[in-house]
Amino acid sequence: MKNSLNRMYGLYLRHFFLIRNSFPRVMDLIYWPTIQITLWGFISKFFSMYSDYYNNTVGVILTCAILYDFLFRSSISFNMLFLEEIYSRNFTNLFIAPIKISEILISLILTAFLRTMIGLVPAIILTTPLFGISILNLGIPLFFLFLSLYIFGMTLGLFVSSGLLRFGPAFENIAWSTMFLLAPLGCIYYPIEILPEILQTIAKGLPLVHIFEEARHILVDGTVDYGKILNAFYLNFIYFFLGVLLFYYSFNQARKKGSLINVGE
């Protein structure tokens, strides 16, 4: 157990040193979420003033924007940790070190959280003085919504990293586009009823809909439906389990096909 923690800590340090050594890298982590949330803050303000649906619910769009950005950043963070090894041609060194796949995954999941929070915390803090809104208004359920989104972000990261393992850097573009592919079905800024019926059925199979519907429900109606939060968790665990299986499968396929050797830009 102690050895296992030591190895996971080693992999965490690899990324911690990378972030600590580069001020532009830290700025880059903070810059995009801040821009994104500020932009949505103004849009949210406009809608709250001129829309019946959002009347008197100033923070709904902005809160959903923050939740979506959290999901986006966590997924990208996980992918970036993997891509960093490819960019630096360190992939082979990592996989000839005696670190188990499970240890790599746990370490990356925890490190991705740190990377996500570096970007998101300043942006969240800014929302109060700029727009008079605090995401903390969601109360205790906020923790469950964040946790659920984080699990889904990691799941997407696992799917993309599996592709990177198997196909190498050529899969990078997919890494950047996964979130945009799911966003329309996630019903982040609008209720699920907006979608055509067939897409509603598909969307209900994603945890995102349940999370964002519930966030809006809490903010608009002031009540919490833990059933919906639980639904999101059930779906999350299924996808996460599949993601882990896919990662192991891709690792074995990569060992068979030789794609772990000399992976680089």
Binding site: R7, G10, R14, L18, I261
Partner: protein, 242 residues
């Protein structure tokens, strides 16, 4: 007595080619075995299979008597690898890279080990410099330090002196000679530098088209093929001259 490295009848077939065709060899304690052959002959594939990076189509690799396929993580603790084709994270300093790999290999007394390697490989002057800012020779010494961080008893070297100036190349070769005298280690050295192979290796394996086509001590090969140096033996075998 079991040899630390035993490669038994390894095959690696891809859909379009056979990269390795039934190779067998062993490396004993405190021995450096040279692996020679033209580009694409299967040297890197063989090393990748030995490291568990690649799964053989058939055959087995035994490290310290254990099958690498079944005991990959356990055996990787005792092994390490250096190649000019893989690098350490460029944005981390030399010390940070050594700390990371010391942790990944569960090195006890991490600071002592790093200090020893810094001293032995003369890394002190650039220890706090980013690895990407170093010269090729300095990077090579850092990679060598990383490959020795866990005091490996099995060391796989893939062209460790490629693209180095003669002085740095000689430093690495002298270091390896000293290291093998002071430690219990088995080394497999893939190289295109025939003088290096003659100087360091007690046995040489000549590979071509995924097969070992000849083997012996450097002097045995010279006598057998009636040549003055290993380069001529290499050219003769790789061009398939009689």
């Amino acid at each position: 007595m079991i040899n630390p490295i035993e490669v038994k009848n390894i095959y690696k077939n891809y859909s379009d080619k056979n990269a390795v065709n039934g190779i067998n060899f062993s490396v004993s304690n405190n021995e450096i075995v040279g692996l020679l052959g033209p580009n694409g002959c299967g040297k890197t594939t063989t090393i990748a299979i030995m490291l568990g990076l690649l799964r053989a189509s058939s055959g087995q690799v035994f490290i310290k008597g254990k099958d690498i396929e079944k005991n990959r993580i356990e055996l990787l603790h005792k092994m390490n690898f250096i190649s000019p084709y893989i690098e350490l994270p460029k944005k981390l300093t030399v010390r940070e890279n050594l700390i990371v790999y010391a942790r990944l290999y569960n090195v006890s007394k991490l600071n002592d080990r790093i200090d020893y390697l810094v001293e032995t490989l003369n890394l002190k002057d650039f220890l706090n410099q980013k690895t990407g800012e170093l010269s090729s020779g300095q990077k090579n010494r850092v990679s060598l330090a990383k490959s020795l961080i866990n005091t490996p008893s099995i060391l796989l070297l893939d062209e460790p002196t490629a693209s180095l100036d003669p002085d740095t190349g000689d430093f690495v070769r002298s270091f390896l000679e000293k290291y093998i005298k002071e430690n219990t280690v088995s080394i497999l050295l893939a190289s295109h530098n025939m003088n290096e192979v003659k100087r360091l290796c007690s046995n040489v394996l000549m590979m071509k088209n995924g097969q070992i086509i000849d083997k012996g001590t450097p002097n045995e090969l010279l006598t057998k093929h009636g040549q003055d140096n290993l380069e001529e033996v290499f050219l003769k075998l790789s061009r398939n001259e009689k």
